[in-house]
């Protein structure tokens, strides 16, 4: 940007050639966006409110639907918070310390982006099932993971981790070491330096990572349904209930749940965005 601006100033008399293709590329972008995303997505809202607001409200406030929405949003919230915590540790360790196989481990963090969710689902279920490698040990400690809401959180931990780690890593790399050293010479211990100097600078990317992991977790289906147990009112996520209603040809019901999910997600994202604006304003961002 700066380069092109200075170029304009240097040759004020020479007209810069206009780059062609604005109409073609923007036109195609809008057409494809409308056909694939906007028009199909609008169908959810048009059909969702089609039978009237009363019907929408009746479906969404039904006990089974409410339970599934609470579970989907609750599990996504818990998993995103846990991911923010562990993701920070993973990102910290990967940017600050040296240890064997670091590069391979770093590349592995992206596995949830690359591994199909159904594969992750059956693998996590087998691992955390009562007779599984980890499930057996955890069960002897009194913790049942697979086929409970805790299993849903485990699946969402897997799905959401790279969002947090990959948003934090660039921020950690850019952190000013001198500020830390200054804090240390002024007598701050490691924990004080972290809590007062480092963490405030990390809030904005941490919130971004949290929001991305949360948004993904709310709608996640493939990795969850194998491990969840899928019992109505207990471990049935909202996306599964949409499919159940579809299989019963209850299109209006399925659509109403979809609208509720989209609206709640949108409101939560607005709230997180506002929180992030506040964090950026307070700590100045970059």
């Amino acid at each position: 940007m700066a380069r092109s601006a200075s170029a304009t100033n240097k040759h004020p008399n020479k007209p810069r050639p206009t780059i062609p293709g604005f109409g073609l590329t923007l036109g195609y972008t809008m057409l494809y966006l409308s056909l694939i995303v906007l028009i199909p997505l609008s169908s959810v809202f048009i059909r969702g409110f089609g039978p009237g607001l009363g019907h929408f409200w009746d479906v969404v406030t039904g006990a089974r639907v409410l339970a599934s929405l609470r579970l989907s949003f609750g599990a996504a919230l818990i998993a995103a918070a846990a991911n923010a915590f562990f993701g920070l540790i993973v990102a910290w360790v990967l940017t600050r310390y040296e240890f064997p196989f670091k590069r391979i481990i770093d590349a592995m963090v992206d596995l949830p982006f690359a591994l199909p969710t159904a594969v992750a689902g059956i693998a996590l279920t087998t691992l955390y099932a009562p007779h599984g490698w980890l499930g057996g040990t955890l069960l002897s400690l009194g913790i049942k993971v697979a086929y409970t809401p805790l299993g849903i959180v485990v699946a969402l931990l897997f799905i959401g981790l790279p969002f947090v780690v990959r948003t934090l890593q660039p921020a950690l790399e850019e952190l000013d070491w001198e500020v830390e050293q200054a804090a240390a010479t002024l007598g701050a211990n490691a924990w004080q330096t972290f809590a007062r100097v480092i963490l405030p600078a990390l809030w904005p990317p941490l919130l971004t990572g949290f929001a991305l992991a949360f948004a993904r977790g709310v709608g996640e289906y493939g990795s969850v349904i194998f491990i969840a147990g899928n019992r109505p009112m207990k471990s049935e996520i909202a996306p599964l209930l949409i499919i159940t209603k579809l299989e019963q040809y209850d299109y209006a019901g399925a659509t109403a749940i979809a609208v509720a999910m989209l609206v709640i997600s949108f409101l939560l994202m607005l709230a997180i965005n506002a929180l992030q604006g506040w964090a950026l304003a307070r700590h100045g961002g970059r």
Binding site: M1, R16, V44, W92, A114, I122, L127, F158, Y251, A258
Partner: protein, 283 residues
């Protein structure tokens, strides 16, 4: 000394966490796949229904990836080379499919093309099957992988500015020549990166495809759906055998991704910056 201990503790904590949630799930796929021996493994992956699923998955990716690639290039060209009103809103809309549950992504195509959908009656009258057939699977996959190429290319093209193109144009090249000889070589790594991620998701998509597929074995079953059917039939070893092919694809994707990142280190960083930028512009 205490800082050394703290460092070791943090590394240990990170590694245990990654082992429990990333490494062991990956390892168990291959262990379970080979649990009945290599012969059973080969039989499972060369089963005609498994092969039909592989074929369908490849077909869906072969249609989806080029379409989203052309869209990604067009969108990045418009957004990076020109100034217009509503640009940041457009970037947000392009990212929209990432915010939609895959199940809802499938649902919308049923609402549009299904039996009692907007175009359902017309399609039925003309004998065209979209939903519960291959076109529906393709459409749902295009939707969920829609932003991948665009979101990698937009920051890459924005960083490159338009000086190179303007030079080529002032030297007499026409628009297409400029694109093929100047722009495309400049963005090749970013393009490949986006295509790689788009392809991985296209081949692995489960939720959206599950809604529109109809689950007809040998006809509308993709590999992830085939894994589900085998698993739900308690044919666990066979399910993991087919799953191991997808896991191998994931590992290949990760290796290629690392290779591209070492060639063009800015790729990994830019992806996140564009997201932050879009977010900051909205704030």
């Amino acid at each position: 000394m205490s800082s050394r201990l703290g460092r070791l503790l943090l590394i240990a904590l990170a590694l245990v966490f990654l082992a429990m949630f990333l490494v062991l799930p990956l390892i168990i796929v291959f262990v379970e796949a080979l649990s009945k021996g290599f012969g059973a493994y080969l039989a499972a992956v060369s089963d005609p229904l498994a092969l039909a699923a592989v074929q369908l998955t490849l077909l869906v990716a072969a249609i989806t990836v080029p379409l989203n690639m052309i869209f990604g290039i067009a969108a990045a060209w418009a957004i990076a080379k020109f100034d217009f009103r509503g640009k940041s809103a457009l970037i947000t809309l392009i990212d929209l499919p990432f915010a939609v549950s895959p199940v809802i992504a499938g649902l919308i195509f049923i609402l549009v093309f299904g039996g009692n959908g907007w175009f359902g009656g017309w399609l039925q009258a003309h004998g065209v099957h979209v939903v519960f057939a291959v076109p529906g699977i393709v459409l749902a996959t295009i939707f969920v992988t829609f932003p991948f190429v665009a979101r990698e290319l937009i920051p890459v093209m924005q960083a490159q500015g338009k000086d190179d193109e303007e030079t080529a144009l002032s030297l007499g090249a026409d628009g297409w020549q400029t694109f093929w000889r100047v722009t495309l070589p400049n963005i090749r790594w970013g393009l490949l990166y986006g295509v790689l991620l788009c392809n991985a998701r296209a081949m692995g998509e489960f939720g959206a495809v599950s809604v529109v597929s109809g689950h007809v074995r040998g006809l509308t079953n993709t590999m992830p759906l085939h894994v589900e059917i085998l698993y739900n039939e308690y044919n666990v070893a066979a399910a993991f055998s087919v799953a191991s092919l997808l896991a191998l694809l994931a590992l290949l994707t990760l290796a290629a991704k690392s290779l591209l990142e070492s060639r063009a280190p800015e790729l990994r960083r830019r992806a996140h910056q564009s997201r932050d930028l879009a977010r900051r512009e909205r704030v």
